[in-house]
């Protein structure tokens, strides 16, 4: 399908081909897009200007997050996921998948807090508090120091321990025969 579109585009020119066919919908304004767009990419695109470190994050975490995840991010078994620990367990019979042991990108941590946390009342943390809580969780995992400031520039540069722990789908991986 895409190949066909590109072929036609090369003949008739992109503007003609990609012009609306049903003329439904209204052009979205930059303000409308900015209000709705919360995507954060791994290169930092989408991160708002801001900063925060673990020192600033600790009281926010205690006030907003610890009730479920525990004061040290240890989680509550069977109910709320642990946020720390598990390094070195991924190839063992009891793997422990946490932000520290498993998640490959620090931007994902920021994005998840920003879009989904605190669970019962998401979207209440201003950007600086999201940076600060992210920093606190990364610090609990020994990934950054207690003083390190995370900003829209530095967060994407944080290298997570399991950064190279993923491969893209290799299925079908099982060749069953009878």
């Amino acid at each position: 399908m895409r190949k066909l579109l590109l072929f036609v585009a090369s003949v008739f020119g992109v503007p003609v081909l990609l012009s609306a066919q049903y003329n439904l919908g209204r052009q979205a304004t930059p303000e409308q897009i900015q209000a709705a767009n919360i995507t954060v990419m791994t290169d930092g695109t989408g991160l708002p200007v801001g900063h925060g470190n673990a020192v600033a994050g600790e009281p926010v975490f205690k006030a907003r997050c610890a009730v479920c995840h525990g004061p040290k991010g240890e989680g509550r078994k069977g109910e709320y996921p642990a946020l720390v620990g598990g390094r070195g367990t991924l190839a063992t019979p009891k793997p422990m998948k946490t932000v520290g042991s498993y998640w490959p990108y620090a931007t994902t941590v920021w994005d998840h807090i920003n879009r989904a946390m605190p669970f019962n009342t998401p979207h209440i943390l201003p950007p600086n508090e999201v940076y600060a809580v992210t920093a606190f969780i990364l610090h609990l995992n020994g990934i950054i120091s207690r003083d390190e400031q995370l900003t829209e520039k530095t967060l994407p540069k944080v290298v997570m321990p399991n950064r190279n722990g993923f491969v893209i789908d290799t299925r079908p991986d099982i060749k069953a025969r009878r």
Partner: protein
């Protein structure tokens, strides 16, 4: 009225009232006029089958409910019984104000109202939907006692909507666009990155219809993504935004979750396709055969790679296998029903099924799965599921 007339006839003809009334009544069914019509129907009060609900955290609304597959007829799951998996509860969304934003690597970012979406040419498709975490415990050896417990994050539905490709064309794609982030309007703004090649497949829908009426709130009302054959989580509900990007966003649900650990500690990501799978739904765990003799074995088969080609059944603990009859219609990426006539002699028996899809892929045994994936991958488990029919007639997990 009818009764008094009968009484009158009985008296006037001299025949006993008892004899004539039993003759005229025509059985034990009601002889009085029934209930009135109603604007929206409901099932008979005696019918009680329902979803089973499991909360995954102490916060209500995050968890799953399972379809009672053992009690469903055919390949369509009633909307009221469609499985649920929510990450932040069921949001209440007003379709009058809901809009879908398409932006990013497009020529013209657009916002669509629900009225706009419904004005596009509509298509309907019957497909299965299965949670990527269906049967997540079976790989590591936890076998629920019923098929609802083991396979119930699976449903079949006719969805109606407009192909995503048609709507994207309105906005115009830039050549750098390679991925499409789909985001829900639930409180956690659940988001998944979809490869654009797949999003442009005409079978991928922006769906607003479910079995002939609007989507149920728990199934994404008023608008959701439907990607036939792909894990349920990518079929984003309460769809609010499509963001065209050059790279995947690496959201939490495509990195921290819905990724599968291999024995070497690496994890597979973007494992979208639900591979071929089948299960006997009757008789199945928790049921009881009350007499020897004929019992039809029935079940479901499905594959994210197209059509089911063959289902085989074994009633002797896997020693011998015979073809089951596939029930028409056999639709691509839909539930396919099968049946197998069986005469139970009253001895203990282990019954199971296996399927092959049109690509030649044969449903693996649990042992074959574990040999390749180990015990930690969890998601996308599609091993065989035997049931033991005990001499008492009780059926349990084998």
């Amino acid at each position: 009225m009818a009764r008094s007339r009968r009484k009158f006839i009985a008296l006037s003809t001299g025949v006993t009232a008892v004899a004539l009334s039993s003759c005229n009544k025509g059985g034990d069914e009601p002889s009085t006029s029934g209930a009135n019509m109603r604007p929206y129907g409901d099932r008979a009060p005696q019918e009680k089958i329902q979803r089973t609900i499991r909360e995954l955290t102490a916060s209500p609304g995050t968890g799953s409910s399972r379809t009672p597959l053992q009690d469903i007829y055919g390949i369509i799951t009633p909307s009221s019984l469609h499985y649920e998996r929510h990450h932040s509860g069921v949001p209440a969304i007003d379709p009058a104000t809901h809009s879908l934003l398409i932006h990013g690597l497009v020529d013209k970012p657009l916002a669509f109202t629900m009225d706009d979406i419904r004005r596009f040419p509509a298509v309907s498709r019957i497909i299965f939907l299965e949670c990527g975490g269906n049967s997540v415990g079976e790989q590591s050896g936890k076998f629920p006692e019923t098929v609802q417990g083991s396979h119930g994050l699976l449903s079949g539905t006719q969805w109606t909507g407009v192909p995503v490709s048609v709507v994207l064309r309105e906005a115009g794609l830039k050549p750098e666009a390679k991925w499409m982030l789909a985001e829900g309007a639930d409180a956690c703004r659940m988001a998944r990155s979809i490869p654009l090649d797949k999003a442009l497949d005409p079978e991928v829908l922006l769906a607003y219809g479910q079995n002939g009426e609007a989507l149920r709130p728990e199934n994404g009302y008023p608008l959701r993504l439907i990607i036939p054959g792909w894990e349920g989580n990518t079929n984003v509900k309460w769809l609010r935004r499509l963001h065209l990007t050059a790279e995947p966003a690496m959201s939490s649900k495509e990195t921290g979750y819905y990724t599968e650990l291999r024995p070497d500690g690496k994890a597979e990501m973007f494992t979208f396709v639900m591979e071929a799978r089948s299960v006997i739904t009757r008789p199945s765990g928790g049921q009881k055969l009350t007499s020897h003799g004929f019992h039809e074995i029935t079940g479901l088969a499905w594959t994210g790679r197209g059509k089911i080609r063959q289902v085989e059944v074994s009633v002797d603990n896997g020693k011998t296998w015979a073809d089951a009859e596939l029930q028409e219609p056999i639709l691509p990426k839909a539930l396919t029903a099968f049946r197998f006539p069986w005469r139970w002699d009253g001895e203990e028996a282990v019954i199971q099924c296996r399927c092959t899809d049109e690509t030649g892929y044969l449903q693996p045994t649990r042992e074959e799965l574990i040999a390749v994936r180990g015990l930690n991958s969890g998601y996308h488990y599609n091993g065989l599921r035997p049931w033991r029919v005990k001499a008492t007639g009780e059926v349990e997990s084998a």
